[in-house]
Symmetry: C2
Subunit: 270 residues, 2 copies
Amino acid sequence: MDKPIGVIDSGVGGLTVVHELMRQLPREKLIYLGDTLRCPYGPRTPEEIRGFTWEMVEFLLTKDIKMLVIACNTATAYTLSELQEQLTIPVVGVIQPGARAAIKSTINNHVGIIGTEGTVRSKAYSIALNMIKPNLNISALACPAFVPLVEQGMLSGNVAMKTVEESLFALRDFKAMDTLILGCTHYPLLKDVIQEVVGPQVTLISSSEETARETSTILEVNQLLNEGLAPCYHQFYTTGDVDMFTTLTKRIFNSSIDNLRSVSIEKAVI
Amino acid sequence: MDKPIGVIDSGVGGLTVVHELMRQLPREKLIYLGDTLRCPYGPRTPEEIRGFTWEMVEFLLTKDIKMLVIACNTATAYTLSELQEQLTIPVVGVIQPGARAAIKSTINNHVGIIGTEGTVRSKAYSIALNMIKPNLNISALACPAFVPLVEQGMLSGNVAMKTVEESLFALRDFKAMDTLILGCTHYPLLKDVIQEVVGPQVTLISSSEETARETSTILEVNQLLNEGLAPCYHQFYTTGDVDMFTTLTKRIFNSSIDNLRSVSIEKAVI
């Protein structure tokens, strides 16, 4: 089926999921919508997060998507269940794939989670892990310095190393855990530095990689894979300023995005 | 939802999938059916394989399963599509999860596959890989000596090492691949030996681990996870001799199985 996959995020972090979708599902057409105008979602009320997310979803539904990927931890935490219940297309969030990969990976049942303050406070990963496998030993740590680091393009070098070291120092028991979930879509961009700091005995789980992997699973089981030729292009939308989005993606991903358009999705405007 | 997950296999190899389902989904109740009477399926005609598999499925449907796992490479190769089309419950096979994990894992796009002669001849893994990601470099090798090795309980030691070394020698280009799919449910039991032979630079993909992981995904997306207490027991059925099944599982898994019963599933008998 050659309909596109819809991907939503509060900003640009979800592009790490897009990157993995392109790599793991090169035949699939993608439509990305980043709500940069109202980013970040972390400090918003649950009602705002739900409202904004539904506005994004309704916009993508007009594009006839065959599946929805919520590439945003906050939006996943607050809206996944209701979207799965109310939409007729499959919906995957960014939290559960990381949780499932961690359960597969861990041998000693000690799993670490790092994410934004909002994600850690929501306990969404712990809930997802425990719902499937109770009695895991879970250590969670907010790393508020990581997103600014990534958005400034500092993905390696001394400053990155020092910031990561200092942030993860608080996770004192990280030597005991054998699996660490990178519970924020920005964090896979710091993977090399984080791996160096935690050591080779810890398996890092990238929610972006795992979400793309599970998108692949869900498409196949629902017989929705595109069996035709690869798409010529993907589409990108931002609710904010195109130039700002472009600058940010160039800085982070070291590449530019074609087919980027600005769109207004607020209910009153539509 | 506290209904059981049904698992079918031509024999005992699918118990590696059961082992992983228990580890990764400890709250789920399992019903396993091994068609040991008519095992192995490899040399059978496609019509026989389809007929036998449908007989297994019909038996498990009477047990009110919420999902079906085809823990047998041959049965997956010949019946997955029609089962996905015709059953109203989700169906996952043992081939696609390994293929998807390999696509996620490989960096240099060179993937190896080892399996039984039947599996390699069917090209099922190559087809599954290429359907999702064309232009992969794929090397496949049949390792007919591995299943007898496992069924004799020789999972480590000199004989195991020598057999694995000799078998994999034919895969001369294995130094170029960065990912190797263990495309037979028996092979994860030889994982340590295989890893030693191919070296640490090759990521081994266990179809059993990956199938359990994807079962977890599919249950959640379809809102079928058991949110209640863990089950007290699982159920095991064999179409063959209970003592032989028990001896084999003791030898391979070094543990015995409770709740094992013999059952006749042939159409004429039912």
